[in-house]
Point group: C2
């Protein structure tokens, strides 16, 4: 029998982490009497006087959110990381290793209205979000080794507040995922004298099997090694290293690309599509300012959990936690569905 990727279980290597993903086509056909997600209601009010992220509302710490008109950034009232914190004592026991963690956590509202999301905002409004990402990154990257811009969208993805917002957590150290990428990208560069993701973009363009959106500045693909059902990578085609490298035109094109991708996501299952997304680029801070970033390529990653419909998600549990990442349809099948679904007109506007 001949091997057919869309028929036969197999493994694929994620070259960014060195870890394998188990691909099991057709698993989505099994019966499901498990948890049903509640899709986010479309009937949110544009202003909710009890929501601390809305303009003019007082936050739990007594500070009033100003009457902002576009984006608004503030320090998280319950930060995971803080700037001033005592250093833990050294331990020479390899089983009880403890290390300092300094940092800073910010919340960034995308828009004053609670009932908007990136796909229902205009490209101009998304452009303002991108500009704010960059200005935050400019400030924080001067000080911190890693600035993680990320958005948790939807209650299914652990978002604790429905107002459109993202978070920015800055770290005095390189966290696990970027550290792994740093090593793998560097070693690829040493061998091939090319950034791994530039090579990857080129080959995906040749193969045309996993592309979702393609324009002169950006490529959106379901990576060959995707773990989450409709995971995508939005990769710079311009050898950008960090988000603050982008030219005006690249930023404008990015706004359009984000609108198109998130519209496709919403249209796929006709719901406000939940995901976690975030930006990865070359490390920063005094420690990395003078190191070469030639091996890096700026990219965003989208991890959406929905698998079969607006109400049935993929759970990363059991085998996935204890053994390895596993997916239930091929990246090519996911890419085809995302490519074919409308990315111009949002289903709520139809």
């Amino acid at each position: 029998m001949q091997f057919v990727a869309s028929e036969h279980p197999h493994r694929r290597l994620n070259p960014l982490t060195g870890q394998w993903v188990l691909v099991c086509p057709h698993r989505t056909q099994r019966p499901w009497s498990g948890q049903q997600e509640k899709p986010q209601k479309n009937e949110l009010p544009d202003f909710d006087p009890s929501n601390p992220l809305c303009p003019g509302v007082t936050r739990p710490n007594g500070v009033e959110t100003p009457a902002y008109k576009s984006t608004y950034v503030f320090e998280n009232d319950f930060p995971a990381l803080v700037e001033v914190v005592p250093v833990p004592p050294n331990s020479d026991d390899p089983l009880f290793q403890i290390a300092p963690a300094r940092g800073n956590c910010r919340v960034m509202c995308f828009h004053p209205k609670s009932n908007l999301t990136l796909p229902t905002m205009s490209a101009e409004e998304i452009g303002v979000v991108i500009d704010e990402w960059i200005s935050q990154f400019n400030e924080l990257s001067a000080k911190y080794a890693w600035v993680q811009i990320f958005e948790n969208k939807g209650a299914t993805m652990g978002c604790s507040n429905p107002h459109p917002h993202c978070q920015i957590w800055s770290c005095s150290f390189l966290p696990t995922e970027p550290q792994l990428k740093q090593e793998r990208l560097r070693s690829y560069y040493t061998t091939n004298e090319r950034p791994m993701l530039s090579d990857y973009v080129e080959r995906e363009l040749q193969r045309q099997e996993r592309i979702v959106i393609e324009n002169p500045d950006w490529l959106v693909v379901v990576p060959f090694w995707a773990t989450w059902p409709f995971e995508t990578m939005l990769i710079s085609r311009n050898n950008n290293k960090r988000i603050n490298d982008l030219t005006l035109e690249q930023r404008q094109n990015l706004a359009v690309t984000i609108k198109e991708l998130t519209t496709k996501y919403d249209n796929l299952f006709q719901c406000s599509f939940p995901y976690s997304m975030g930006w990865h680029g070359a490390p920063t801070g005094p420690e990395h300012a003078h190191a070469s970033s030639a091996h890096w390529t700026l990219h965003a990653i989208y991890y959406p959990p929905l698998l079969r419909s607006a109400t049935v998600r993929k759970f990363m549990v059991g085998f996935e936690l204890l053994a390895m990442a596993q997916r239930d349809l091929t990246p090519e099948q996911a890419a085809q569905r995302l490519r074919e679904v409308d990315g111009k007109c949002h289903y709520l506007e139809k």
Copy 2:
């Protein structure tokens, strides 16, 4: 200011994976308007004629589940892994690496009654489950490099059927997590001439800070590097390498330990506590049969998602997916709560 682990954010190293966990005490105090879990109803019938896992019911593939009296094992009707599958072609492109995956997926019912769970079964009934785990492991480990026994409990943990059951997925290869452990345990053994987890058990017994249950054969701790809020490790104190090494007495003690731990979990938030759990021990199959397993110690891991109550869970999203593992209370705080909660009498029996 002096460093206090229960006050100050810090990182801890997981020596089994080499990865750091960010520990952020007090994060559980932030407001939560996110997803609320539906705790599993206690009013499940003991027999559901539409549930294919119940005795006498016909499965989607037309096979009738027999009128079993204790445990019952069958091949998964929608297996992620199959034994006979074509081998993918070799690729020398490092960005498109694909590898074979052969295996086998079984479902194992714990009990004929749908409305029981391990904590509400008797220790004798749990003993029968352990014996069945061992007999399955004996058969499958002869052939496969890795036999992953795991239980997804509760809809919150992606369990697609409420009948008490676990799964056994066997793999022709070593998956990511056991592969990582294999390397780290071996290197510790080379340096220290002792299995890492034997040393770890000894030091936890000295420190008495993270112990949940302690008896002559088994130790349950919230590991120093735990990621999930109430994560525990159940570790053999007898230098067992694999689940089929256990003596009758160790198995009996294990049944009592599992009953006590899962009772504590249920009593903590007065609900049927969801989790994913699974067994890790030395690799198997022809490939590993003659390799030394001296560096291994048999252990089970419990990953429960609930954080604050029966309805508020921890989400591993955003920062966790993009940067690194992060937890919202210290392992010592979690251990203390689990240690103090009743493990003898289940809340439904009070």
